[in-house]
């Protein structure tokens, strides 16, 4: 079942399948280690439209909700 990162609940893990968008979003997420094939774990979401905090291969990264909504995980 495919979901976006936004739909993942805190503590849940998923494998990135597709990132919807062009070079920009692929590039910026890749600088944080998020790319197709990678396992990410959602740690928390900040309230009031705030960013998501994720764990990617042991590192912690933050991304905005707009981007998170375009990352499909399984």
């Amino acid at each position: 079942m495919m979901r976006t990162l936004l739909e993942l609940s805190s503590g849940e893990m998923g494998e990135v399948v597709v990132i919807a968008g062009g070079w920009g979003i692929h590039y910026h997420l890749a600088t944080l280690g998020i790319r197709p094939g990678k396992i990410v774990r959602k740690i928390t979401t900040q309230p009031m439209g705030g960013p998501l905090l994720l764990e990617v291969e042991g590192a912690r990264v933050a991304i905005g909700r707009g981007m998170a909504g375009r990352v499909m995980v399984r």
């Binding site: 944080l32 928390t44 900040q46 439209g49 705030g50 905090l53 990264v61 933050a62 905005g64």
Partner: protein, 639 residues
Amino acid sequence: MRILLMGNPNVGKSVIFNRLTGIKVIASNYPGTTIEFLEGSIIFDGRKVRIIDAPGTYSLIPSDRAEEVAANLLTEEKTDLIINVVDATNLERNLYLTLQLRELPIPVIVDLNIIDAARERGIEIDIPRLEKELGLPVVTSVAISGEGIGQLRRIIGKILQRSQNKVVIRTFDSEIEEVIVRIQKETNLPRWQVILGLEGNSDFRSKIPREIFEEAVGKIQRGKEESIELMILKWRFGQSGAIISRVQKVHHRHPTFLEKLGDATVKPLTGLPIAAIVLWGIFNFFVIGAGFITDKIMIPLFEGPYDKFVRLGVEKFFSRGFVHDMLVGTSGSGYLESFGLLTTGIFVPIGVVLPAVLIFYLILTLLEDIGYLPRLAVLVDNIFHKIGLHGYSIVPVILSFGCNVPGAMASRILRTEKQRFMMLTMLGISIPCTAQTAVVLNIIGPYGLEWVMLIYSILLVIFVSLGSILNYLLAGETPEIVLEIPPYRIPRFSNLLMKTRLRMESFFLDAIPWVFVGILVVNLFYYLGVTNFLSRNLGFLLGGWLGLPQEAIYPLIIGFLRKDVATGLIAPLLSKGTINLGQAVTIVVMLAVYFPCAATFVVFLKELGIKDTIKSTLIMLIVAFGVGGLLHLSFALKG
């Protein structure tokens, strides 16, 4: 001979630079500490070799100003060697830059830094295999303790001795390769420039004529949605992924205490209360610490021995007249109010501002080295996003509380012109530097800390409303936060001391001369009658709408030079009763808002250019007079 240190942000380039050159530089635990390159030199075999510490960059396709600085370093001058500093705990994503660098006609050494943390995390890297896969020499280091630096030096020496550098051509998959070869043939550009141009580096893209580019790319893109940039990006993912699968093993282990603490400080339920406690604690520590040094050490020192030797000494030689007044100011008034070069001129920077700067930088350095700032950035991102910035803007804001100059420079980490313009304007308007804060605490503080809090609350309201208005009015994007959050690290005492010392040094060199100039101007203006002239001819500006007496023009003019001296000028006005407390608050707020000090203004010109600086300055003046008038109105209504 020239060596470049390049690597992703926050991998320890500056610490390696310091280890190699002995030059002390500011290094912290957050991405984007170095926003301008630094240069030093070492001697290798009797030859002087320049070493340059580039700002951190994720690739050679810059997406902010600091990354532009890094990418430009490669093209502006011949480089003999690149040391690619890599975070061993995040090898895979760091390899993206490494893969780009190894295509350049420049030798590259890969330095796997923070190797100790990688070992602790159970990451095992097969170094000889990595060397083979990359075709580059690889060393490991723990820069902060000096481990591995000797080995790095040896390899640098060995490579610099080599007379010739062989460029290995590494082919891409057949489709991409076809495009590269075709463009290369038709433009005669070097292969590496064609590749960077195709990957999206605009400098090199513009070297490829549009028709040639479109023709070559169009051929393979028919029926595909992906751009050539994305195709190359994905090819590089594949490369780094394949290398990693062959050289790295990760053993599972449990999260450490610092990691758990790290998550707790950023989860909203625990993170927000912790942030509130941390900020409240900092404010108190600052007020009490700086106040203690000023009141218990500096004032006794100045009123005791200093007074006896300096002030009385001067009065022995010059009982009155211009020189007397210039040196020790008006007789009978205190060190804050007399405005002599040797009284107020020394007391304000040393007795009042220095303690505040010292305490501020101790706290800042501690927060930086632990790695708290990026977490704070995540917590405040939602608020900042609503005013057109993103959470990482907290870094320039916090630096600006120290001094607006580094704060304005740090705005380079923001990605769009709009965000940079907004950030600089908002910093210039509503973030008072420590120097001004210290003087405010000393002049307004005695009337009650709530008056000081009032000033800061007004500035906060200005910050938020100005942000919303500018965000609404200005065209342009507000990109979302994309931020890596470094693990907490236990700060090193030596680094803490070194950084605080560096910052104090720059305070002495950059600030104190300006204080002297400020006080000199105050005295000269007074003697030449400029003061009276100005109050008579410009004083009317302050009348009606602002409700300030003519004399208030004076601090406002000196504010162009130095905010602390200007704020200090309020002291005599307040003690003589020329202005009341409400008016003092109005002047302090206007001083903070209406114009950055001379040093900051220079940075504005450099970062924004003339046109935007003028625009920014106009906004400042409008806000200053608007807010000043509103304050007058509210104080009048309140009675």
